[in-house]
């Protein structure tokens, strides 16, 4: 958009200069080099998971598998109960997404759209709590859940999401502030209650922000490792993260194929979600990265 017509002809002339061409070459060479470095592990993961065992350990490396086998995927589902792990993780992830969307929307609404005395101090406190390392609260929170008899249940992994999280409160509050206050005022004059304004005006306008939140929460629950590690002993309750880690610790590298197949399966939903929601994703990152 910055280019005017005169500018663009100047640019083309500049394009032909050897110095410019050399510079482009260097830029693309470095970028291609890094792209290879970044993508080779993906390639290695996926090809290992579909190679026949002889080719996994073949030397020199077999870059293109001669045959594609699904035996490692079958192995991943039979050596460990991977299907159960996936189902377990889905249950937790869905429960936390519901909890996080509901609770954070309510809290952020109270901080951004209602003019009351504690709105600002409370927000400052939420921000401050982001600095408390999880390691500090880990043990007392464990003891609370143990006292409640919640060990080896999904409650410690899901219930907290129903009470909001500072990062999400921050994200939603910033978004709610961008919705004109006049909309709320007009509705109030028409006699709408705060709950009606919340559910019928603010929430429908905040779908992109709520989607970002749901996405981050889902991936967070899918990837969560330390929570299941601390709270789950019963192998039937394992999530995919803890199940995969234990699979690796038990079998070491003896079951390389199935291990890579299971890792591919764990990575897959994250990649699929990323490609489906790339815009939301990147907006979320850059929004929460610094701006706001």
């Amino acid at each position: 958009m910055r280019l005017t017509l005169a500018g663009s002809t100047a640019l083309t002339r500049r394009h032909l200069r050897p110095a410019f061409l050399l510079e482009r070459c260097i830029i693309y060479t470095i970028l291609t080099g890094f792209s290879l470095l970044f993508s080779v592990p993906f390639y290695w993961l996926i090809t290992t998971s579909i190679k026949i065992p002889d080719e996994i350990f073949a030397y020199p490396i077999v870059w293109v598998p001669s045959t594609i086998t699904l035996e490692h995927y079958i192995g991943a589902f039979t050596i460990v109960p991977l299907a159960r792990y996936i189902a377990n993780t889905m249950i937790i992830a869905i429960a936390t997404v519901i909890g996080a969307v509901l609770s954070n929307a309510l809290i952020a609404y109270g901080l951004a759209r209602i003019n009351w005395s504690l709105a600002k101090p409370l927000f400052a406190i939420f921000l401050a709590t982001m600095m408390v390392p999880g390691a500090v609260t880990m043990i007392p929170v464990y003891i609370i859940f143990k006292t409640l008899g919640w060990l080896d249940t999904y409650l410690p992994l899901t219930v907290p999401s129903y009470f909001g999280a500072a990062f999400f409160i921050f994200l939603l509050r910033q978004f709610f502030l961008t919705i004109p206050l006049e909309l709320s005022d007009a509705a109030r004059i028409d006699g709408a209650s705060e709950l009606q304004i919340f559910s019928q005006i603010v929430l429908p306008l905040s779908k992109p922000a709520l989607a970002t939140l749901a996405l981050f929460q889902f991936i967070g629950s899918w990837e969560n490792f330390i929570g299941p590690l601390i709270y789950l002993n019963n192998k039937d309750l394992y999530t995919i993260a803890i199940g995969l880690a234990m699979f690796r610790n038990e079998y070491g590298l003896r079951e390389i194929g199935p291990l890579m197949a299971a890792s591919t399966i764990m990575i897959l939903p994250v990649i699929v979600l990323f490609f489906l929601t790339q815009r939301t994703f990147i907006q979320g990152i850059t929004l929460t990265g610094l701006k706001g």
């Binding site: 970028l31 504690l118 600095m131 999880g134 609260t137 043990i139 007392p140 995969l244 880690a245 994250v270």
Partner: protein, 303 residues
Amino acid sequence: MIQVSALRLRISRRRLECELWGLLFTSLGILHLIWLTAYPVLASLYYSFTSYSVIGRWRWIGLQNYERLFQDPEFYNAIYNTLYLIVLGLPIGIFASFLLAILLNQRVRGLSVYRTLFYLPSILPAVATAVLWTWIFHPTHGLLNIALQLLGIVGPNWLADPAWAKPALIVMGLWGAGGSTLVFLAGLQDVPQELYDAAMVDGAGRWAKFRYITIPFMSPYLFFSLVTGLIGGFQAFTSAYVLTFGGPVRSTVTYVFYLWENGFSYLKMGYACALAWVLFVVIVVFTLITFHLVGPRVYYAGR
């Protein structure tokens, strides 16, 4: 007069309603603050002065946990490992992702492809990443050593050699460093083009433009990744757990790994809480130092 006081009454009633609605909407969050933040933080401080172990009796032992901690060679080992990972890994990570962002900002074709490639590894589950890298680090059949062999280098036995396990963790971490590339790129695209144009008119060279325009404008972003990287680095756990389980010879026992061991393997919860509080203080101190040393050099446009 009556009308005025009625109005005032109505206003104060409206105010009271706002206060109540505010309280109602944020009540879940307030409960969170009490139940899952304030109480645990204080309880953890209290436990750190006791011999709490979940099972069996526990008693107040004053500063004994802290005294023991400062004589504990494992504590210093964990600090050394954690600092090693931060001091080497963080600058390399920030430098690499900043470099990539600058290259991507040169109006390259296929920007979205590069961006996706660099970004994707940073959002992958840490467990899956670590499992994949245990295979990449395999001494004889792993991708890394085979690649090194092509360059004529005999790669080390990464995960079995105490001298190479920490570098292995750093290498694996660099694969995920592209996350900040995205943030840097967003920042670079916000630098006003007029400034570059004006500098060009004034005859400024490449380096001058980079040094006096790009760097100042990007300093808040760089500072932000330094601080968050520092805070995150002190809490490294999952990668060390899955990739090496603290080994070999405890060379990858990070601070939080040691804390977790004490709390949940040795069941020395009081001691673990003392470790947690030392970590808390260390993080706050490091963050403050960073703000003091680097903060004043950060340039915020329009402020």
